[in-house]
Symmetry: C2
Subunit: 446 residues, 2 copies
């Protein structure tokens, strides 16, 4: 009966993700937003079709379970058992989805490309991580009297720009290959890494409940060493991977070794108290360096298409957006907090343009291009809710922040390019990148 | 902690599947056999790395759970909870694997091609289903005093030739395009359908515990109508599918609608008391008729590569081959039964060649080509164990039957072609097929 319930849940999740994704896509917005909203509609906030365990609502009362009782002779007494098993399976599928997502992002992040625009991108990334983290934490503690750990955790959720969303907006506007576009993309890859490291540190603090600076140092060092180690030993690991994949003669000769590596890295990351997604991301980075990259990306795409929407839809489904309903007076504090987060999230990234020194570039556009948050912010919500560190208003505020920053990014970026300088033309961009590359590693492969 | 345990289990499962698959492939045997044997090695029979719930061994004692206790601070008291959640998740993943497998088989089965060699293939298929079912049931009841339902269930597991294994052997021997090869393949598709219908009927009987002929009639009619209905309405459904897929602009535009359809068909099949895999198979058959077929097959391949090995490895892992250990005297009855099943499985398919009337064909080779059992037989084991209808010796006997028939098929087929007539040459084959096709539907697409 569990299998049938999972099948029905997947049908509902896929319908929500596709209807939501396609509708917002028609409006010129990124599909991930629609998947999230699709989840909000079928979940705790609206329809109660998909209700998962520990989301504050009785999962045996969900419409999917009721439908199972009607169609499949599921007895009332078994309903709760089946509902819990369904929750468990859907949760693991959704976490496999985010692991595959980070593996895929790693697989698309080229280190050499990053080094080429390394200096401005790093400055933008570090500024864009620091400002929201510091200002957000300060505001939540001083203005809203949130305790330190949830405040830091919530602000950390604002650190990472969404690579997927920002690259999609840039490509739709035709600015993907401008220098501004390259810097935005490079910075969003770097702040993803920083964001995941911040997440690892903060999430581990929430488990212990107090801030121990020795522990913070340990985590920062271990997370950085883990990523650096993956890069340094990467050359050995990816040669090993290619050698193995070349020898295998049976089906799955690329996908299965790649997943063995990714899942093992995720597991090892968890053993040393880092996040599983950090391991998957590092695995993707390592395998990006091989000549199987293209083939592997092609193979991972349909797997990601199958699993990643489960992650976004369940995140949406678990949220109770009702806690921010402005019609209810007791929600005012939560709503004020959400507005504060949104303002910090926007300003905290717009200022990053200031640290780009090249006056020929449209610095406002660079800052604005960093605004959209997405996957990593939602990963924070997922972990924060699982750890019990995020109250319902904080959780809903982060989700609202992700939704609003994503909504605003496309029109604001168009505005920034129209009021300021035009994006630096591809020719100049090529020269710029070439110069940087010659200074850098000299690897010109795109 | 459940996620980490699942990740570790997947790493172990993938290692077992690849090591097993590659080793047997080196010996010229089909990889699926190696995945099964890999599962036997890591499971209940040997290493106890992967132990699943309801397999007769305490799953909290598995090596994977012990490893989690060592590496991830999993406490003894939580071990059993985590082990049960891991079992639940891995079981659902493995069942999703077999659903995808049957969807993929459906997607590769072309109705028009089957109609072209329809008459001899149908005769071979019907004979090859009837003889093992009748002789096996009779023998198990009369000689081994097994009660009717387990006897019929076990014999039903011998009905379906493995499309995957037999097509691989034929292609390795270079006989895939001979008339004999076409008939073998056509017959194995047809006996898969018949086998799944038999499975549906028998599995439903095992749930009720008694044979009610009205119910048998209902199930045969509903299963046949389900498949026929899918084919008849298939033309509408696949037009709808193409229209939807063509309109979608966001990622997963083919895979997600296809899975919504496949999972919905699987769910509907389960509602009307058929097997979920029958629904997935029918969905594959319907989508095979669209011009998205090639693209969909390409996209489903890596997903199948990821999920299908989980099915074969867990089947192997759940088996206790020790119950057939000849060194233990009490196992003699079980062992005799296993030998009986193997003999019936071989003879029951070899005789199918006799019903092919064309004297120019190598009829022995056709019969021998039908010998290997695989996926569908293992699906029977899975369902029979879940329903509690198969005793451990019966379960182990079926698995041994699958292993031995697969081992023997390749050398026996080579022998059959060398002692009898050469396979009918491609030219003659083309003529033969063309004639049949003109009589049939006239659809010449390959």
């Amino acid at each position: 009966m569990v299998l049938e319930t999972v099948l029905l849940s997947l049908v509902v999740i896929y319908l929500a993700s596709k209807v939501g994704g396609e509708l917002v896509n028609k409006l010129g917005l990124p599909p991930v937003l629609g998947e999230l909203l699709g989840g909000v509609v079928i979940g705790n906030s609206v329809l109660h079709l998909l209700v998962l365990q520990d989301s504050g609502v009785d999962n045996a009362q969900s419409l999917i379970i009721s439908l199972m009782e009607i169609t499949s002779d599921l007895s009332k007494s078994d309903a709760s058992l089946v509902a819990n098993a369904q929750s468990e399976v859907i949760s693991v599928l959704s976490e496999l989805g985010v692991i595959i997502l980070l593996f895929e992002i790693g697989l698309e992040s080229n280190f050499q490309d990053l080094l080429a625009i390394g200096i401005p991108a790093t400055l933008v990334a570090v500024t864009g991580v620091t400002v929201p983290l510091v200002v957000g934490s300060w505001g939540l503690i001083a203005l809203f009297h949130i305790s330190t750990i949830p405040a830091v955790f919530t602000s950390a959720a604002m650190t990472a720009t969404s690579i997927g969303i920002t690259s999609k907006i840039l490509s739709e506007l035709g600015f993907l290959n401008s220098v501004e576009g390259k810097i935005i993309l490079g910075a969003s890859v770097i702040d993803d890494v920083l964001g995941i490291i911040v997440l690892t540190v903060v999430a581990s603090l929430t488990r212990d409940g107090e801030i121990d600076f020795a522990r913070v140092a340990y985590l920062i060092i271990s997370a950085s060493s883990f990523i650096l180690g993956a890069i340094i030993f990467g050359n050995l690991l990816n040669k090993l991977f290619v050698a193995i994949a070349d020898r295998l003669k049976t089906r799955g000769e690329i996908v299965i070794p790649a997943f063995i590596f990714a899942f093992l890295m995720a597991y090892i990351a968890s053993i040393i108290h880092l996040e599983t997604i950090l391991g998957a991301f590092a695995a993707g980075l390592v395998l990006e360096e091989t000549d199987k990259r293209k083939e592997l990306q092609r193979l991972v795409t349909p797997i990601a298409d199958m699993l990643v929407p489960i992650f976004f839809v369940t995140i949406g489904a678990k949220t109770s957006l009702g806690v921010l309903n402005p019609a209810i007076p007791s929600n005012q504090a939560g709503l004020a907090m959400a507005i504060f987060l949104i303002v910090v999230a926007i300003i905290g990234k717009v200022v990053t343009g200031l640290v780009v020194f090249n006056p020929e570039l449209n610095r406002l556009a660079i800052g604005v291009g960093m605004i959209p948050r997405g996957e990593v912010g939602l990963v924070f919500v997922n972990i924060g809710t699982a750890n019990g560190v995020l109250s319902q208003p904080l959780e809903a505020s982060i989700i609202l922040m992700v939704i609003i920053t994503t909504f605003l990014a496309s029109p604001l970026l168009r505005l920034a390019f129209s009021v300021g300088q035009n994006p630096t033309v591809p020719d100049a961009a090529t020269t710029y990148l070439t110069v940087q590359r010659e200074r850098g590693t000299g690897n010109g492969e795109q």
